[in-house]
Symmetry: C2
DNA sequence: TACTTCACTGCAAACCTTTGCAGCTCTCCG
DNA sequence: CGGAGAGCTGCAAAGGTTTGCAGTGAAGTA
């Protein structure tokens, strides 16, 4: 009487030793079958692979990480996953990483500096590198972190570190020029969160462009970069008497439009509004949002490539003379182009005396 | 002449051995200082902690994972990060996990079954458990996976496995009843993706509610669960002559409204539209969307709790008698309540002969 | 005083894999 | 026919941590 064994996956996973035993070779041969196939006899290789398949063997990544010093994981730290700006970037980064046999830890800091710092430390020991996306920490803190673990910074410029930036300055200039072209001369800038490089860039460029065009630019902020944050300043915008607003991002722009609507001001008839990011949502609101499109997916992919460009490098924590994390790493800084997408939330300046301005 | 040493982080990270040497104890005492503090003399403890702090020591998780068999990572597999339904869930899950000293791998399957299966296998060896969110694979595949790694299923019911569900059936019933109350008798259901449990639940409940109310329900689909998918069926909706639509999710509902608008049909005057999910976006579109609110954040937290409830369990892959992954794990199935949020996209049935229906 | 108990610490094996080195067998060339 | 070289495989150390067991000294008990 024969007993057929169930072909379930075994409860305790097969190790390299099991495979070696099953295929009659030494464990080192099994190891090489996976990590350096060209070093093992083709016949042996197929046999080993067959046994491995049979036993459902998968290399233990912890053990591998222990000896190689590389985890094949990368960390991605973002300010707020729920902000629709980030998911496309995350998605692109993750796809690119997977493509290179890496996994991605995503961590959310809730727009909090302290959480950001804590997270990056917690992650550092567990990943081969970290993508810092729209960091709110100080440059010096970022530099300190970069000595502990390889870092690529997204949406910020830090000297001596690899960075992927989007040229929001140029975008802001285009936006202001667009508004100037429509006749607007009193414009507000809705500032974003404190510590945001993007925020500074936008402001710098907007101020310059407004001045060049002979317009008056009022800066309102900093604000929380969400609909709520945008809605909260609606009244302030109304009282300021401006006819157009450039917001730090689309979410704030949309919130502002809502808020203005509640105050009886219509967009774009009474006030023109421009956002930044071109999130999917901005095509769906009414009016459709005029905005500065940023190439978020490309940024995610590029950042992963930059982080992993030295894939074959000596691992971190190699014995003997240790190379500091940033050594002989080309610290390229990439600036991606943005463009202005004109939709329905901007229009010609309203005739004077309509509201607010005249006492 | 004294030389002050730079207090930079060392390029090669401190190990438990360095801390032991610095504090004059054995490595096992250092280990216990972190993993079982009550076993070590308070004085020794503070000394060790001071040295560890000083050296910037952080335990190597790979080494720990190697011996304990627990990685302190969990995997979270979602259909599409860019779908705004998921980020709040991810965020909640991640926060809850971090709270218990776990990290989260987020993986995106692009709504693809094969990618889903591949991902869960790739992740299995690297995490202590997997959260399967809105899986598109078959139940039997899920069961097979669950033998390899502990699994909690979100948004789907699988017998014998811990599940966190949202009662979309009840939500759909409320939605249909709401439409019936407004006088609608010809209603369409916009189906979601094939393989979605949520989709089946909604359909089942909607069909039942419509029948009970003496209404005619047309099912359109399956469709891609995005704005595009919703917009694509606008013409079909118009031709069908229905006066109200229940969509699989908010994204499709919004896309449909756009599409109908392009065809000259206004919401809610000509057609009423109800979505499901209550994503942040649905409050921002015009008209504001009537929708079934699902407690996504709560689902994320609950799922993590269920996965980690046996945190002190014997690790997977313990030597000797191995317990199958699902052993003595209480396979609770949690059903979270949903509710109908009435906004501006639904209204009374239009007077007959307005459009489409009459010749 | 002698014995037990307790609190604490050290010892050493074990986790699974990678990799430099050495050894083996064959082939090829002189 | 001898030697060199190539191709393949085995050996064993190493990586950082956890943990059962044993050992130490001091305090408590009889």
């Amino acid at each position: 009487m024969t007993v057929t064994t169930l072909d379930e996956e075994p409860a305790v996973p097969a190790t390299i030793r099991d495979v070696a035993r099953a295929s009659g070779v030494h464990i080192s041969t099994v190891s090489r079958t996976f990590s350096a196939p060209h070093l093992v006899n083709p016949e042996t290789r197929v046999r080993v692979l067959a046994c491995a398949e049979d036993l459902g063997y998968r290399p233990n990544r912890a053990a591998r990480a222990l000896i190689t010093g590389r985890t094949h994981n990368i960390g991605l730290i973002v300010a707020d996953i729920a902000n629709p700006f980030f998911p496309p970037l995350i998605k692109a980064a993750e796809g690119q990483a997977r493509h290179r046999d890496y996994h991605v830890f995503v961590a959310d800091t809730n727009e909090d500096q302290a959480a950001e710092e804590e997270l990056v430390h917690a992650l550092a020991k567990q990943v081969d590198g970290v993508l810092l996306c729209s960091p709110r920490m100080s440059n010096s803190l970022i530099e300190q972190v970069s000595r502990e673990v390889p870092v690529v910074v997204i949406n910020r410029q830090v000297a001596g570190l690899p960075c992927v930036m989007m040229d929001v300055g140029q975008g802001a200039r285009l936006a202001i020029e667009h508004l100037l072209g429509l006749g607007h001369r009193r414009i507000a800038l809705l500032g974003g969160p404190r510590g945001s490089w993007t925020n500074r860039e936008i402001r710098r460029a907007a101020v310059a462009a407004a001045r060049a065009g002979g317009a008056e630019l009022t800066v309102l902020g900093p604000n929380h970069p969400t609909e709520t944050g945008g809605g909260a300043v609606a009244d302030q915008v109304r009282r300021s008497g401006v006819t157009a607003v450039l917001a730090y991002n689309d979410l704030m722009a949309i919130g502002l439009i809502e808020g203005l609507d509640a105050l009886g001001l219509r967009v774009p008839q009474d006030v023109s509004v421009v956002g930044v990011d071109d999130i999917a949502l901005s095509r769906l609101t009414r009016p459709k949002l005029t905005t500065v499109a940023t190439p978020t997916a490309a940024a995610g992919r590029t950042a992963v490539d930059m982080l992993l460009q030295h894939d074959s490098d000596a691992p971190r924590g190699a014995r003997g003379r240790g190379a500091s994390a940033g050594d002989h790493r080309t610290t390229a800084q990439v600036m991606l182009q943005t463009e202005l997408v004109v939709r329905d939330s901007t229009g010609p300046v309203p005739p004077p005396g309509r509201d607010g301005t005249g006492a």
